[in-house]
């Protein structure tokens, strides 16, 4: 009798298990395409025009190195227009600018070709009016405006000013530590936001409780925050994961920070101390990225001086890019490091 009951229960358990409906959307770690992205064009005060490019590395982990050449080139004109050769995972927006010649006409195009993992794609830069970009657009598209909310204060935001200390060209031996120092000054816009993404707006309302809490948190004096430690990141994560709020558009936590990443040169054998905040859109919780569902901006150094150390194990020439990001706009500095062989 018991055996028969067991059979029945086993059948009941079996039919309770989902029958393996295929997941149609996967988070591949490697092997997927690298798409160059044309972000739009902007006009400078002197009338000159820059085209802005970024990329989408479809992989969640694979770092790709594509040297300048047939697989990473611009045309017409010079193949090397300052694009990266080291590609971080996932979405990287507004990565670099290309100044177009003054005789560039509306029907002309500037084409960036990338080939990686066996796939070749091109980004076609043009002066289509739909793709005109200014600072508000950049803040919107990188997530500082949530689903598209702004006010005069945030629209007046200007990028942080960043000054690299110690020169743009360095030389170091493999295994030695290189000290990198940058001074960052910002206008305080946008306000530093709370740890957890609210989702950039709920399904149809702007007034949901999370938004209200965020607004209150943003307005709260800092000393009050210190007195009340509040929920831990893990508690906030649990809350966020329980939330039914969807991430309707790209959303980013605000909070001035400075981070280094490799722009040209391989990642292998390069180690930063402290570990750097990801400048790419790692949307996974606790991913140390401002686009993560939970992310805590670092404490600001009192003197605005951001200090990191980097060590290389492989000789070669590396271009490191340092980014000062206030959550809405950013400024970059670059340092070229020639790494010589270690003294044996």
């Amino acid at each position: 009798m018991i055996g028969r009951f067991a059979v029945l229960l086993l059948a009941a358990v079996s039919i309770s298990i989902p029958d393996g409906a295929e997941a149609q959307r996967h988070t591949y770690t490697k092997g997927q395409p690298l798409y160059p992205a044309y972000e739009g064009w902007e006009q400078n005060e002197d009338g000159s025009i820059d085209m802005l490019f970024g990329y989408m590395n479809q992989n969640w982990e694979q770092l790709l190195d594509v040297p300048i050449g047939a697989d990473n080139q611009f045309s017409p004109g010079t193949a090397d227009q300052g694009q990266p050769t080291h590609f971080l995972p996932r979405r990287n927006r507004f990565v670099f600018k290309v100044r177009i010649p003054s005789d560039f006409e509306e029907d002309d195009e500037l084409v960036w070709t990338l080939r990686a993992n066996g796939h070749e794609f091109k980004a076609y830069g043009s002066l289509r009016k739909d793709l005109f970009v200014d600072n508000v657009v950049i803040m919107s598209e990188t997530g500082a405006l949530g689903a598209g909310s702004s006010n005069p204060e945030i629209r007046a935001n200007v990028p942080p000013a960043v000054e690299l200390q110690g020169g743009m060209e360095r030389s170091v031996r493999a295994g030695e530590t290189l000290r990198l120092e940058a001074i960052v000054i910002d206008d305080g816009q946008p306000n530093r936001s709370s740890l957890v993404l609210s989702g950039g707006g709920s399904s149809d309302d702007e007034d949901d409780e999370e938004d209200a809490q965020e607004e209150d948190e943003a307005a709260a004096p800092e000393e009050e925050e210190e007195e009340d430690a509040g929920p831990t990141p893990r508690q906030l994560l649990a809350s966020a994961l329980r939330s039914s709020t969807a991430t309707v558009t790209v959303s980013k936590r605000s909070g001035l920070h400075f981070t280094w990443f490799i722009y040209r040169g391989p990642e292998e054998g390069v180690e930063f101390d402290p570990p750097q905040i990801k400048p790419w859109e790692d949307t996974r919780p606790f991913a140390n990225s401002p686009w993560a569902r939970v992310w805590e901006a670092p404490e600001l150094p009192e003197d605005g001086r951001w200090v990191s150390e980097v060590t290389f194990t492989q000789p070669g020439t590396y271009v490191l890019r340092g980014r000062a990001d206030d959550g809405g706009l950013f400024s970059d500095v670059e340092v070229t490091v020639v790494v010589r062989a270690a003294v044996s």
Binding site: Y38, M56, K129, G148, E206, D207, W291
Partner: protein, 615 residues
């Protein structure tokens, strides 16, 4: 069913648009061999819906404007296609309509994809088919239009004209607004970047709070009716979205009322009869999220908000859910590919009644489907085409709104067309990602849902059974449990401090006949086995029960409730490392000290007669 392979021959000279030529060419090249060939296969170009009048018992040569076409126009077209309306040409008399006959035929034949007229994209071969203000055309109406246009668009006998085609009193609203307010005018230069920001607050001139039944927003601008001439999205409007609230000045944000997002070419929102939205006296409409998109022409525009109210004594019954389904972060759309899919999911923590489905995509958007997954039962609730020039909300008709139990997974699939066949995309050779710009992408269902308690959910299903006259063997799309008088709610055990809360509404003194130990033999295909039942009086005087299955320790019932003529016990059975929800329904037996029992074990239903020990 046969198809008119020459359906687009014999056109009226000089009236074919470029779209018409393309559609005609597609039709001739891809003429389907039956109705089922009207493919919605992702990645394939959509085929026009070409139908033969003869298949509906109609003589094609007898189809006339006055008898057959005018009623269709009156119902589905002249609301916009009239002098001063949103349509670029008027269809209010035969002379106006005749020259556009081929275009009407071609646009209506698209039916449920971008470019279709009327702009309503519900696919008719999948999901729920009952919606409010559905202007779509039936197969027979399409067949009539095609026969009429192909036959030279004859006028027919004027005496056959029985409908009013010139809605001179029509004010353009698709609701019956009790209150109309206007935003300040904005000026958008022809060549500026996208902009997001605030509008000036708009006063709501109400002396008393009112609940809103429907809201409609329309953009009024100085563009010509054919638009700015821009080839891509939004040539006829500059407001590409407005996220707004109404709030009494100084009141806390939590006291505000949120309203559905306004989008390009939007139709009205209808709130549920049980969940009107509150518009407070003395409040203001405010927004920090108006998205203005330059359309290539200097444009002056303002928004008009129409509110239709419930009666003054109206009180809402249900709470609007704060649910979102979408993924606006991880969008990746490859160049020059059609049929690219995006997926997003949400697990319902509450029972849900879905009032409206509102796909929100951007320029590459071609289609979205909404699906409910309850356990292993998967059902598509709705699939609709998408045109970012005409963002639609689809309000389900009363008594056809999906009723979904907590634990259901809602799944949306977006289908993206980033090829030259999608004229909304500026440059299909480029990869596209997420963003707020009109040339970037969103992926979300902005629909309206109501949250229901278990009791409300059960009551809604009972009402559905009654109104639709459902029998036990009837299934209705979107209501997987409608015929379950005792719903199989997956999360029936409430917990406090990790301990289950026993819910009992039966006083032990009023259930003396149950007290004691019972043996319940159950018949199954595998034979008979016994379950023990122990009823006792709890410390609170309420009836308590434990269930003793043969393969695991006794389990206390988590819920004991009276049914019409007996008891309903719910408990969780632990077996093979899994928790199985189970329900026992007990009613009086035919003999003394016996009870008839029906046991539901995760969908298996068994029955037997319990006997009281010592009885």
């Amino acid at each position: 069913m046969t198809i008119h392979r020459q359906a687009f021959d014999g056109l009226i000279p000089g009236a074919i648009t470029a779209i018409g030529v393309a559609v005609a060419a597609t039709a001739l090249l891809c003429a389907p061999t039956g109705l089922t060939a009207q493919s919605h296969t992702p990645g394939e170009l959509h085929e026009p819906h070409i139908l033969a009048a003869a298949d509906f018992g109609i003589d094609p040569s007898a189809v006339t404007f006055t008898k057959d076409i005018a009623p269709i126009l009156a119902r589905s077209c002249v609301q916009c296609h009239r002098a001063g309306g949103a349509g670029p040409m008027a269809f209010t008399n035969y002379q106006e309509v005749r020259r556009y006959a081929p275009r009407i035929r071609n646009k209506t034949a698209i039916r449920d994809r971008m470019g279709a007229m009327p702009p309503w994209y519900v696919e008719k071969d999948i999901g729920i088919q009952h919606y409010k203000q559905d202007p779509s055309l039936t197969d027979e109406e399409l067949a009539k239009i095609q026969a009429w246009a192909n036959n030279g668009a004859p006028e027919g006998d004027p005496a056959d004209l029985k409908v009013e085609l010139d809605p001179v009193s029509e004010d353009g609203w698709r609701i019956e607004p009790d209150l109309v307010v206007k935003s300040n005018e904005v000026f958008v230069e022809g060549g500026v970047a996208d902009w997001w920001g605030e509008i000036e607050p708009i006063d709501i001139p109400l002396e008393h709070d009112r609940y809103v039944k429907a809201v409609e927003i329309r953009e009024v601008n100085d563009l010509p009716s054919e638009g700015s001439g821009r080839e891509t999205v939004g040539a006829r409007y500059v407001f590409h979205h407005l996220i707004y609230i109404s709030r009494v000045p100084g009141a806390h944000l939590l006291e505000a009322t949120g309203w559905p997002v306004h989008e390009v070419g939007r139709n009205p929102d209808f709130f549920s009869e049980e969940a009107g939205r509150l518009l407070k006296a003395g409040s203001q409409i405010t927004s920090e999220s108006a998205h203005l998109h330059s359309n290539g022409t200097d444009t002056r525009a303002h928004l008009e908000f129409g509110f239709e109210f419930f009666p003054e004594d109206y009180v809402p019954k249900y709470e609007t859910a704060r649910l979102g389904i979408g993924d606006g972060l991880n969008i990746s759309i490859a160049p020059d590919q059609n049929g690219q899919e995006l997926h997003a999911y949400n697990v319902l923590e509450d029972n849900l009644k879905i009032i409206a489905f509102e796909p929100h995509l951007h320029a590459p958007g071609d289609r979205m489907c909404l699906e409910a997954i309850w356990k292993q039962h998967i059902e598509t609730l709705s699939c609709v085409g998408y045109d970012h020039n005409w963002v639609r909300t689809y309000s389900f008709a009363e008594n056809y709104e999906p009723l979904l139990p907590k634990g259901t997974v809602l799944h949306i699939t977006g289908y993206m067309n980033n090829t030259e066949s999608n004229s909304n995309v500026p440059d299909t050779r480029n990869w596209q990602g997420s963003g707020n710009r009109s040339v970037a992408n969103m992926f979300i269902d902005l629909g309206i849902q109501l949250r229901l308690s278990d009791e409300e959910f059960v009551a809604e299903m009972a009402k559905r059974r009654e109104v639709l006259d459902l029998d036990v063997n009837d299934h209705v799309i979107g209501c997987p449990l409608c015929m379950a008088e005792i719903p199989l709610l997956p999360d029936i055990v409430e917990e406090e401090d990790g301990e289950p809360i026993v819910v009992s509404d039966v006083e032990a003194s009023a259930a003396a006949e149950f007290l004691g130990t019972w043996t319940l033999p159950l018949e199954s295909p595998q034979g008979t086995f016994n379950i023990g039942l122990e009823f006792s009086e709890g410390d609170d005087g309420m009836l308590a029960a434990s269930v003793n299955p043969p393969t695991s320790p006794p389990e206390d019932a988590s819920s004991i409730r009276r049914s019409d003529d007996g008891l309903v016990l719910k408990f969780t059975l632990t077996a093979f490392g899994s928790s199985i929800p189970a329900t026992i329904t007990l009613t009086s037996g035919d003999e003394a000290n016996t009870m008839n029992a029906v046991v539901d074990l995760a969908g298996f239903s068994l029955s037997g007669t319990a006997t009281k020990e010592g009885g």
